[in-house]
Amino acid sequence: MDGNGAELKIFLEFVYGFYKSMKEHKVQLVYEGEITHQITKAFTSLTENNMEVDEESQSTQKKVFHVMVECLQNVGKHAECIDCDGGRKEGRGTFMLCKNDEEYTITTGNILSKSHIPDMTEMIDKINSLDKEGLKQLYKQQIKEGRLSSKGGAGLGFIDIAKKTGNKLYYSFLPINEEFSFFVLTSVISRYNN
């Protein structure tokens, strides 16, 4: 900021605006960066402690933990990056946990090559079209047929999130440039009636 007063003022206004946005959307936790195993452990453990303090039901706690792990691991394993050499991936993305009176929302955002969009759209739309029994069948089929990928994913994450939450997956691919999109995924966990 080089001691430039105007720039500093803009930055401080940004900080205040950011704070107000977080309050408005009831953001409990927000992060942008590499999603490692350590980060996953730290965020889930912090959230578990907070839920314990809030006396959240065991069922809600388990569901939030479950969805957080799957979402964070998805980003860690699949996020791509625009200017990395030789297709190297650094598993970087955003993570956000919000809580209001009725529900928790868990949102991740990461860069993904546009070539994945048709398959992912088909898969998530299919998951969203299924009821509980249909999801069970799809899960069993996928666990039997799917092989563990080189990245250690079993292709089960989205199905599992839908099964555990009983809610639809909200998603969007926001175009970045010719080649890449920003993939946003939001899962909702009801705090009651679990």
């Binding site: 195993h37 996953t40 065991q58 069922s59 069970k136 666990i143 799917g146 563990l148 250690g152 079993a154």
Partner: protein
């Protein structure tokens, strides 16, 4: 046979595979950083054991949490037990779940549907 005894952590389960004392058990939480590396020695051990097993094998799963990457490895363990059972060995899988944990109970039901092996569901109290 060598004994496998792994002490659990907050992201890896406790594992005991002990032929002499007839203990075959996986318990706790499973979300290892590298699932394949964690489960490979267990699957290798079961491969060897399946050739040597003489008595009844009662395998206990007592997990409180596992991620989807682990779920695939758990199926691989169950498929090895199924192989043993189909090969004429006596095998029983006991799937323990906390009494109020429907998701863990359901996970057991799903595995029982997939593998052809005697399968018992057992609920336990957390207190």
């Amino acid at each position: 046979m060598e004994v496998i005894k792994i002490v659990g952590t907050d992201d890896t389960p406790s594992v005991t595979l002990d032929v002499a004392n007839e203990i075959f058990e996986i318990s706790g939480r499973s979300l290892p950083e590298d699932v394949a590396a964690f489960y490979e020695p267990i699957l290798d051990w079961l491969d060897k054991y399946s050739e040597e097993a003489t008595g009844k094998t009662v395998f206990n799963f007592k997990l409180v949490y596992f991620n989807t990457a682990s779920s695939k490895m758990l199926l691989d363990i169950l498929l090895k037990l199924e192989e043993m059972y189909e090969g004429g060995k006596e095998v029983l899988v006991r799937w323990h779940f906390p009494e109020d944990d429907e998701d863990m109970e359901e996970a057991g039901e799903e595995y029982a549907d997939i593998v052809e092996v005697p399968f018992e569901q057992i609920s336990y109290s957390m207190d």
